[in-house]
Symmetry: D4
């Protein structure tokens, strides 16, 4: 669909020749913006629920700046993940309102206004070393407008620490569990709650932890039902899925 057709479509809407549902439907086929080294997918929010997110690892500062400029011009919320502090500086140079979350290694511009207290995502992690991944998840969810309850360092070697946080856990609508090593926390949490659990294996550990593979395998084989899994260290992906679940929720409520 080119720009002319889009204009015509919107004029039809203006003059009552079509209705909003139809326009929403047609807009899902909108094209991308080609900036040479990348094709910015500027209607992803419409099609996929949330705006395109910039995975910064392996992109040059110039490339990230280019993408930020196009997205910012369109007024999208911007989330850049796996961003170094150096990269943040180049982004801030062209977007002074950008904020950097160091633990999470995320750049955020113009996040969605935080919604009311609920629905709520619990981000639970097993140990101190899992915090960077947990923060990537938490910042992602907050950028998309959902509140987060952080419950950290509750690994099963000291089970009482987790049991002590059960009331907070039971408040959540979706639970993201983040753990490295043997990832047993996922099964224990999965057995204690009646909410969807998204498990994120982390590359924390040594020897046969195999940079997160052991945790991943353990999570895929969890004896607790209701657990789904994302890639190693993919805090962003877990939060994205959690937000989609809550968004689906809202759609129903608004119906």
């Amino acid at each position: 669909m080119d720009q002319d057709k889009l204009r015509m479509l919107l004029e039809h809407l203006q003059h009552g020749k079509t209705d909003i549902e139809e326009v929403m439907e047609r807009l899902k086929d909108l094209p991308y913006e080609d900036i040479g080294f990348a094709k910015v997918d500027n209607h992803r929010e419409l099609r996929n629920g949330f705006a395109e997110v910039i995975y910064c690892a392996g992109k040059t500062p110039t490339q990230v700046q280019g993408i930020v400029q196009v997205m910012r011009r369109d007024g999208a919320s911007i989330l850049g993940t796996r961003a170094s502090k150096e990269l943040f500086k180049s982004v801030r140079a062209i977007a002074p309102e950008a904020v950097y979350y160091e633990d999470a290694r995320c750049i955020v511009i113009d996040p969605k206004k935080k919604k009311q207290e609920e629905p709520l995502i619990a981000v639970v992690c097993a140990g101190t070393s899992d915090i960077p991944v947990a923060e990537e998840a938490a910042v992602t969810a907050e950028t998309f407008g959902y509140p987060v309850d952080r419950i950290y360092d509750v690994g099963v070697a000291g089970l009482h620490r987790l049991l002590g946080e059960m009331p907070r856990l039971r408040q959540a609508d979706v639970v993201i569990v983040i753990a490295g090593m043997e990832g047993a926390l996922v099964s224990v949490v999965g057995g204690l709650v009646d909410r969807p659990v998204i498990a994120v294996p982390t590359s924390v550990g040594y020897g046969t932890s195999f940079h997160g593979i052991t945790a991943l395998l353990a999570m895929l084989n969890s004896c607790a039902s209701g657990v789904t899994v994302v890639n190693i260290d993919n805090g962003f992906g877990a939060a994205y899925s959690a937000c989609l679940m809550l968004k689906m929720n809202e759609r129903r409520i608004n119906h």
Copy 2:
């Protein structure tokens, strides 16, 4: 908590010494029933959202019969997965109302009454050989009371088949995508919808498909956001998670 304490708790409720919320909370700590070879977890629905499901693979007919008898006595909906036709016969001998779904290899007794048309789970699969896993997912969801739309044999080698089903896909609240071989269907679906996508790799393929590992890895690395993954051939687990998402949804609506 033993039976006496439970009786006392309920008497307190009867006499106004406690309230329902408190009882609900305490019941979450109810014990299991020990039948020797197994400890039947008869309050799992209360704690985890759905009744315990019998994973029949590797259990003897006598063991399954024993578990079915305890659960049936308590009036629970019963779902037995990975059940052979022979096993079904022994179950029917003690529970004549049991139904067998051959494609899905599932035994169902007294499923939840089907709820209204929505919310809806789409179960999408790539090829004919993926159907058993897809049916395990579909029967699980239906047993738990959620309607399912089956969209089968829409692998990406013939992309037009999938694109032709987009309207049905967009109706769903949650999408379960089931594929073996290289699992590319997940990424394509993930890029086209704004709903949570649960990916199920299947052991379909040969050579380097490695009995589903290739599909699993591909799904974990999907370039589409909003995808979470379960174990190979785990149709049940995908449906369980999907139902938890919809249940969370209902809780909010009823609030």
Copy 3:
């Protein structure tokens, strides 16, 4: 050391030319008995703490019969593991006092008399399908003369089942934990007791459980300290190690 030298050594003892400690020491270098297809290590109890055990898998009935005859002639306790019922029948034909433990797939002849109530080995397993491995461990320990407390079907998906058995767990001197799938039970038990925990991964599961590799890896990476691990399905090896720990214990007490 040949038989003559052995005779001479014992005569020296008889006549006061040496003492018992010396003879015990020298006997550790005693030779084996060569029966053609095998060299029966008939002083292993002296050297390694317990008599040689017959790993029956892959041996013909005739080979097992031959080894049993040599060991029986020497009055050793006999334990045959991974034994089919058919194999048992050939053994019983030459050793009518032989007993078969079906769940454990073990043949036992003339076990050590059960010692007093303590020290005690707890054999804990996660699910019904882990019972064969658990029984191999339990029967091994009992054959070597140590009492066992069986705590079965207490997987972490229903954590209250395990917590309900804590008093029994805390009675044990050594804890063997047996689990397949993601093996999370090991970490939870390891975090709750102050006893040595020996973890046995089982080949229970499907897909990415990889016939026990996932459970093995999880156990090797347990966040709980005090856990050591044996090969997949190696119930015998876990019990053997547990008995060595208790035997060391006795030696000290008797000192």
Copy 4:
């Protein structure tokens, strides 16, 4: 040594101009040039279709200079792959006409004259990070004399970007598809064209992308027919094969 020279050698023997020992020796000795650390295969073009290519990784500047000098003396087109900018400088010192392609990490000397517009190789890649591999393929093909159409950043997460390029794709005679992560682009392209597709997995991704193994496995298991695969990041190899296909083509046309 071409067929003519071989025939001449044998004629010399027939006419007594040489003797048997000499022929035996020569027959073993097709003409490479031994420069100590390497044997330059200077008739590879005759035998394999294209001149030898210098894989620069792990060669010292002196070694590369040596090989370049021998090949240049023979007037061959020279292509050096996996070349750093530093290495290029040493090559330019002895061959001022050398050109460096930075994205592709290639050194080129005296490429074949670009042939007419057709036949045409399409080089398609999924994301920005795949561009270096794509450029290695493109520069290789161009050095061998074939035109290339670059279609970049068309990963399936935004399927409309790929569908928008279908007309260009359908112009190509051979399609090289380059992707990391889950490599789903290969299956989608393979299902849409009736040309040979050469798939190149890249080491782009993290966690379970396993430095390209996941993409490789996915491509080998593509549900689309007509796809063949090369080693991870092997843009050069894909282009070499594509050129052989087109060359075979020409041979037929010229017949």
Copy 5:
């Protein structure tokens, strides 16, 4: 595109409102035929170059019969791979003209008329055990209308056997090389010809041959340029790609 639109399109052609090229183009978007358990992709030949092929492994006789009936009604050439003799019998019951190739495990109905002597595909295999895969490749190519030269049992352990077949090898336009164990034949052939080489690893071998993985890895790392690889035992896929290369060739010739 629905049937009405198709009719209209063809009427336009009839009345000169459009031309054949345009219709050919539009037909590429034709839909599939849904027969319940499968969606038969009856315009694949138009889109992908060759008709859909039935991968029989894991399909029931009834399913294969159903697909054969639809395809036969449309007059397509039919190729069924991985077909047992039993399956063939059910196919012959509804299609008496069906032919079975036992070594290749293929069912063929109405193959394309064999074209003239050229272009030619050489199918080369290393040992006797590789013949089934080689035959799958050969029968596939012949069914699609291309002549094949079979060069079997020329593994590198007896290099002279391969060198003796060089003249036949050099006649081919495309070479398919099939080998198990260490797959070295691919590199030797790749170094001797100037044609595209498609390598097929087979599951022939034992121990660390890992059912073809070793051969696959060796082929992906071939030191010879111009080699591309397909999945283990995928004789069909290699032939399909080879035919696409020759077809591309014809298109150019006919231009």
Copy 6:
């Protein structure tokens, strides 16, 4: 249990309303101390037998300082493993009595007073490169109060070196065997002693030693009975388990 309840419990003890056993039991449920980035498990010694140990890898100096301060305030023995010399300096800044063991990479504060000569742990290693892991084990055991006999560089390639140390080996109550490469030392030691053997694979080796995986696999498959295994390079874990074995021992003796 909050502080008030704890106070009440202790008052009950003071006034004879409860006894020591009961208090000991209840104290096992004591809570942890939350210091923001970590939850210090300050009653682990009571529950698990030994105080919490700080795994320093991946923790910042500030984090380690914080944990040390809390533990030191409570008078616990402190062991920090995988600690660099730099980290030690920051710890010493706040705890001048801290000692650094360079080979073992351990920080120790206020170790338990060394107990009498026995029971004794033998720490055996195969080669010079295994010494760091061996020292981690030895320092851990000594910090927990158990004497250690170090028997180093006795790999089986020079079997006489090991046989020469048999008298020392036979003195030990528990044997820790540390080896990289093929780890054969474990099987040889396991066959020569009647004590529990804890095997620690190390990442020493190259090529197919796979950073310790080969040694690990070899140890898990040891033909000697009585061997249990810990993670690669996990000297700490082996010593922790050995100490638990000896502690269990003491409990019995004191009964």
Copy 7:
């Protein structure tokens, strides 16, 4: 074709008895015999030291009969490995002098006359289950004419059994060591002798023995020098190499 025949061929050319085309053709055509499904390499003894050996696994009785007939006609010694008893019967039907070695699964026809007592190959194996592989090695060596000393069931768990056989071991010129599980026997033997050691891993074991991979890896990483390794269960290959070593030996002696 031996050197004399080649020389004669060239002399014919020199003297005009043949022409160039013919020589070119013949030179490519060293003398294998093509019997359709196989190319029998009947001058392998000349080129490789020993006659071609028939690997029977995966060959039909008819194929093996065909090869035997060609080789027998040429008077070669025949060795068929991995042969079932059924296969032997079909061979005996056409070669009544054939002998079957059941443990070794080998068919032998007309073995080389046993040479004098020396040089000698020691075949050493760890356990009873390794005997089939050991026998394949022993029968191979004996068929090629070299005497063998069998030293079986001397695994390192009972080290005294091996040490008791040291005098026999030191008599050997080459030592073949065969072991499954952790393969430690190889390192111990390698450290005790000054002869070449050829290690054969066997698929004996369970769980993480991975069908011989663990033994293979352990052997490749042996801390003893002078060890080389062959594929899992490849008793034949080990013996073949051992015989080549002794043959080289003879060549020197005869010089």
Copy 8:
């Protein structure tokens, strides 16, 4: 055996109470020299055929110096492998006669005098990048006193280069073949010679070469008989084995 016993033994020899054979035999049980961090095995030459070799990787300069001093005092030939140039400098400081081979990364002191021209080891490698491993093998053999013929850069992609070197290959008594990538050179050489072939996989390659695993697997599965394999990059080990083969040879000749 302590020094006193050794003295007594030698006195017995002096006075005719024993003979040389007996002394040689007893000396094989001589002890090692314990220098704290290492036990130098100073009679290894007697027992294993060649003096202990110092694997320098992972040893500190001080440790290497210490070992060199002990060995040098005993007059042994010294070979240090995997030695950096820096390490060499510390060795030269205490042993000015030390020589450094840069390509081979070896330090040599007082090598055995080169023996006559034969027996001969051929060291063959596939490409320029394999030269360091080839040189490690060559320098090792030369240090042990055996002549080496280096045949480099003869990979199979240019088969004529290898065929051209056949006369040199056929001169060798043992052939060491060194290759990375797919290692096909081993099979081709193995099929052309009647000498023992020792294959050394190298870590040369990228992507799925997996740092030498692919080459290793290919070599273990070579279709050529008479090939044995050592660990990745283990040039030293291959040469050590080759020398043992030649030494065995000499023993026979001298008999």
